[in-house]
């Protein structure tokens, strides 16, 4: 796979604080990569380093095959960045905002008008195109900022907390957009602390804590590495009887971890033990409706990484 981003030991300090501390990772072309971590973990600083806006104290990076420290302008001309706050010009109209971005990003002059019109329509802003942005809702400003990030048809997008402060409908639109960007083959780096969002959208995630990358991989990989095997949930049609619970509990390699009215959660050593437990429940008179492993959520993985009980 061709790499869109390859960071090697990036370090950046502000005064005595190491905002990014020896971060190395790679993101493949066309991948949606999540950068997770609490506020102040170093996510935004990392984006700034990769976009060539900040210079690393140590380490290096290649972004779209270029060194952002040396070729910052070229890197930025091929990247779109959605900042944490929309950072749109509130005294200008939506159209003026996009036209300015088109000029600065070098969109060919004859294409500026059509491109601006196309993005205004795509983000449902055409009816308010001539109004000053100061009167827009937060969701509209965020949509305008997204349109601006796409004005030059970038290959790589950095989205820093794209759904922060948005209502569910606007958040859904952003999620759909990320899906569309992935379908178009663009690489997306998504900074978020919304774990459900990251789980739904990202192919892989990296977890930052105090400037360090403490985990990297798919949610499944991290779960397998960090947590015990996922529990097996056994759901019955009728309330769980003592006989069923006892029959399941004596199967070798199986422990009943939780008993609810119609459900048992089991810790099974392997899939064979899980199958034996299901058979035992049926033999004991339990009418099994469903059985299967419940995968760990990213939230559980994340809290395990941070050393906090989920």
């Amino acid at each position: 796979m061709t790499m869109a981003i390859a960071a090697d030991g990036l370090v950046r300090s502000f005064g005595t604080v190491r905002a990014v501390d020896g971060v190395s990772f790679e993101v493949g072309e066309g991948e949606v990569f999540g950068l997770l971590g609490p506020n102040g973990a170093g996510k935004t600083t990392l984006i700034r380093l990769l976009a060539g806006v900040l210079t690393p104290d140590a380490g290096s990076a290649r972004v779209l095959g270029l060194d952002p420290t040396v070729d910052g302008s070229a890197v930025r001309s091929r990247c779109g960045v959605l900042t944490e706050t929309p950072a749109v010009y509130e005294r200008l109209t939506a159209r003026q905002n996009l036209a300015f971005a088109a000029d600065v990003f070098g969109v060919p002059v004859p294409d500026v008008g059509p491109r601006v019109g196309e993005l205004l329509a795509r983000f449902s802003l055409q009816d308010r195109a001539e109004e000053p942005v100061g009167g827009f809702s937060k969701g509209m400003k965020q949509r305008l900022a997204l349109a601006r990030a796409l004005i030059h048809d970038p290959e790589l997008l950095f989205l820093d907390e794209p759904t922060a402060g948005l209502d569910p409908v606007a958040s859904r639109q952003v999620h759909d957009l990320v899906g569309t960007l992935r379908d178009e083959g663009r690489t997306v780096v998504l900074c978020t602390h919304h774990l459900v969002e990251a789980e739904a959208l990202c192919d892989r995630v990296g977890v930052l804590s105090k400037g360090r990358l403490i985990a990297l991989g798919t949610v499944r990989e991290l779960s397998d590495r960090l947590l015990a095997a996922s529990p097996v949930a056994l759901t019955l049609l009728d309330p769980v009887t003592d006989a069923v619970a006892a029959a399941v509990g004596v199967v070798p390699g199986v422990t009943v971890t939780e008993r609810e009215e119609r459900r048992l959660l089991l810790a099974a050593a392997d899939d064979g033990a899980a199958a034996d437990a299901i058979q035992a429940a049926v033999r004991a008179g339990g009418r099994v409706v469903s059985a299967g492993r419940r995968e760990h959520t990213l939230e559980e993985v994340y809290f395990a990484l941070q050393g906090v009980p989920a």
């Binding site: 806006v53 900040l54 910052g72 302008s73 900042t83 300015f100 000029d103 070098g106 000053p132 900022a145």
Partner: protein, 268 residues
């Protein structure tokens, strides 16, 4: 240097300034006072004083700057001509200085204040293009405002003094040098000072107040002229302009060195 980028940044900044009421009213108020209000008030002086004889006191030293044809004017008329044509002329430099300082403060600090700077720093514009765009945004309207106000001031001065002098005599060569040669230098001074101040302050008003202190330079020129210590004849004005341009070059280079993405982002 990509001039399309530079022009886009300057145009965007000017569009934003146009929507800043404090900036626009400050510029309009200052322009009206210096170009129309002040000369009209001074034109009324002879009527108020009723002066017809004696000497001009501290302004007597300026008399020899008057063209020979005007030296025989009555005292009151001579005073008006001296005040409008010579003594107050340096005050006129406050217009390019303040317009540049106001637009510069709005352009540099305003971006920080409104949290739009980060978005701008993520564009492909180089540090030099960003800086040039901002300097242009401050300097161009300052020079245009200076020339426009000078034209208005010239019309007003002639309207007031033509009946006394019997001719259209303003602008004098030195007033023209002041507007055309020294004015743009002062505009650049205002912009370059704004850049430096903007690295230290967080709000438009703070920046505006600090750069406003530069008007003391203009007041010093005026006092020099009025006291006879520094008579602004043509050679003196050419020299003063050169000094300002020299200071501009130093300040602009200093500003360009300070204007780095890394530094701005680290402080954002």
């Amino acid at each position: 240097m990509n001039w399309r980028t530079v022009r886009a940044i300057a145009t965007k900044d000017l569009l934003e300034v146009r929507k800043n009421r404090i900036a626009i009213w400050s510029i309009l108020g200052l322009s009206f006072f210096l170009s129309i209000g002040m000369p009209v008030l001074i034109g009324l002086l002879p009527l108020a004083s009723g002066a017809s004889g004696g000497d001009l006191g501290p302004f007597e030293a300026l008399t020899h700057l008057l063209p020979p044809g005007l030296q025989g004017l009555p005292l009151g008329s001579r005073m008006v001509v001296l005040m409008l044509g010579y003594f107050l002329a340096p005050l006129f430099l406050i217009i390019p200085l303040m317009v540049a300082a106001i637009v510069g403060a709005e352009s540099f600090v305003g971006e920080k204040e409104r949290h739009t700077l980060e978005g701008l720093l993520y564009t492909p514009a180089t540090d030099l293009e960003l800086y040039a765009g901002k300097v242009l945004a401050g300097a161009v309207p300052a020079v245009i405002a200076a020339f426009l106000n000078f034209a208005i001031y010239s019309v007003v001065v002639n309207l007031i003094t033509a009946p006394i002098v019997g001719a259209i005599w303003f602008p004098t060569v030195s007033a023209l040098a002041l507007a055309v040669w020294v004015g743009p230098a002062v505009a650049l001074l205002g912009v370059s000072a704004s850049v430096l101040v903007s690295t230290r302050v967080e709000t438009f008003l703070e920046a505006n107040q600090l750069t406003g202190l530069l008007s003391l330079v203009i007041v010093a020129l005026m006092v020099g002229q009025g006291s006879g210590l520094l008579l602004l004849s043509l050679p003196v004005l050419l020299f003063v302009g050169l000094v300002f341009y020299g200071v501009d070059v130093v300040l602009i280079r200093l500003g360009a060195a300070i204007f780095s993405r890394d530094r701005l982002m680290a402080r954002a």
